[in-house]
C-alpha cells in the first residue's frame, strides 16, 4: 500500500520529499507501524516530536492505512 509522509522544519530535509515540497510517497508491504516505516526510510524518530493523522495525535505504534497522510512535526520550541 501507499502512504504519504509530510514534514516541515528541519525534518523536511531529512524526509527527502519527492511528490511536493513537504511530502514523500512511501510504498509499504503489509501493515507496519510508523516506527517501522521511519526505520525503513532511515529517518531517526528522535527528530520527530509529534505525529498526527487526520487531525488526531498518534505515536510511533500507529499503523497507517492505504492512502493516509501522516504529518511528522519536528520540535517546535523557539519563541
Amino acid at each position: 500500500m501507499t502512504i504519504f509522509l509530510r514534514a516541515g522544519g528541519q525534518l523536511r530535509a531529512m524526509l527527502k520529499p519527492d511528490i511536493d515540497h513537504y511530502t514523500r510517497k512511501v510504498e509499504i508491504d503489509g501493515e507496519k507501524t510508523i516506527g517501522e516505516i521511519l526505520k525503513d526510510i532511515s529517518l531517526d524518530p528522535a527528530y520527530v516530536a509529534l505525529i498526527y493523522v487526520d487531525g488526531v495525535m498518534k505515536d510511533l505504534s500507529f499503523r497507517p492505512s492505504d492512502g493516509q497522510t501522516i504529518t511528522l512535526q519536528p520540535p517546535v520550541s523557539g519563541g
Binding site: G8, A49, G55, V56, M57, P75, S77, G79
Partner: protein
Amino acid sequence: MSLSTSEIERYQRQLTVDGWNQERLKSARALVVGVGGLGGVSATYLAAAGVGYLRICDSDRVELSNLNRQILFTTEDIGKPKAALVAQRLSAQNPEIKIEPLSDKLTETNASELASGCDLIIDGLDNHADRLKLNKASFDLNIPFLYGAINEWLGQLSFFHPPETACLACLLPEELQDPKPTPVFGPLPGAIGSLQATLALRYLMTGEHPVSNTLLVFRADTTVFETVRFERRPGCGVCGKTVPSGH
C-alpha cells in the same frame, strides 16, 4: 471594579465588543514568561486591552539578532535587559495598569513563586526545558498555562489546565532534539503571540478555553491552520500524579 473616565475613553472601541468584560480584565493578573518574539507581542496586547496586572519575566538582554522579530526593541536597546524595557514601553502605552518586571532566570525552584497569585501563565519562552518548568508550576498551583512555540515556518499553541485538560508533558516528551539557534520567520511569533493574546483575553473575561486538548498548528509557509486533538496521558509524569489540594 469600576472604570475611571479616562479608562472608559481609552477602551471605548472594545467596550462595545460582544461579550467584553473590561472590569474582569482590570482585576485580572497574568504572568508572561519570556518577552521576546512571542511574549513581547502577547504582553503588548494584554497591556493595551487593560489587563490590570502583568508580571513579566525575562533574564535576557537584547541582542542584535533578536531584531528581525522582537519588534518592541530597537538597535539602541542592544545590551539592555528585556524585562525592564518591556515594562517601560508597555507602561507608556497604558499607564492605567500595573506592570512588574522581573529579570530572574526561570528555575524549577522559582517557577511557582513567579506564577503565584496570577490567573494565567502565558508562555513566551524559547526552549522546551523551561516550558516544562512552567508546566509543572501551572499544575502545582492550579493556574492555566497558555503554551505557544515557533520554529522556522511552524507555530503551535495550546491551553493546559489539568485535570480538566492535558498538560504539556502529556503532549511532548521531556527530551526534544532542540536545535539552537532556531530559524524563525519574523512575522510568525507575531501571529502566534497575537493568538495567545486572543486566547488569554477570552479566557480572562469568560473562562472559555477553546484550544484545550487541541494543538493549533500554523504553517506560515502555506498559510494553513490545522487543529490536532490529543488526550490527557494517564501516566503523565506531571498531571498523572496525585492532584494537589486546591484543584
